[in-house]
Amino acid sequence: MPNLAAQIREALSMFADRGTHPALIGGLAVVAHEVVRATKDVDFLLEAEAADRVHEALLGLGYQCLYRSEDAANYIRGTEGLDLLYAHRPLARRLLAQALDRDTPMGRMRVIGVEGLMGFKLQGWVNDPTRTRDLDDIRALMQRHRSTLNLAELREYFALFNQQELLNELLG
């Protein structure tokens, strides 16, 4: 099993020890929603109240903090990366609360819903338009889940970033 799986197991164990249960977001959540691609992005959506204790725990595990704000943090440990987004706004808190448990080869973990994942991917792309990977993921998720997507929820996220035209284009 790749080291990446061991890294995720360790992170899940640390989260549980600290009494928090973040939701998987980012590239691995894309995989969870049945669009399988190569990724080493270990990204979690974490309740903002747990930010300090998880920060201390990650440092204790040998991670180095590259960046930390009230919205996000990046950590690295050698060749391993781990990113956190902090849920402190109502929408992110709602998405975190609605994340569903999944049994995976790395252990039981919560995974954000597909609409919310697309919302976070959109946020990533709006913040850094060079991240075309985010748009590709949105397209692939749209293709995979088109028939079951909650379009009203999706429209809410695209409207939040004034990207309604992009959504219409993606929906064809």
Binding site: A38, P105, N127
Partner: protein, 74 residues
Amino acid sequence: MSCSADPPKPVARTPHAANAVLAGAAGVPFVLPPAAQSGIDPFTEWLSLMEVVEMLCPAWPVRDKPFQGNDWRL
């Protein structure tokens, strides 16, 4: 040794066929069939993929700069 009188005809490549080849060769994300039909766990599929990826690319690029931008609305 005998040869066929008619040489093989070139196979016409439709746009669909061309796309299929590119999808397999160019890293376009693989979309699993619905789980209920395939029974494939996407994480298991991903772990298999990453085993090969790590063999081919042991030094995966690590993010060396923080998140870009400050437009956080979610």
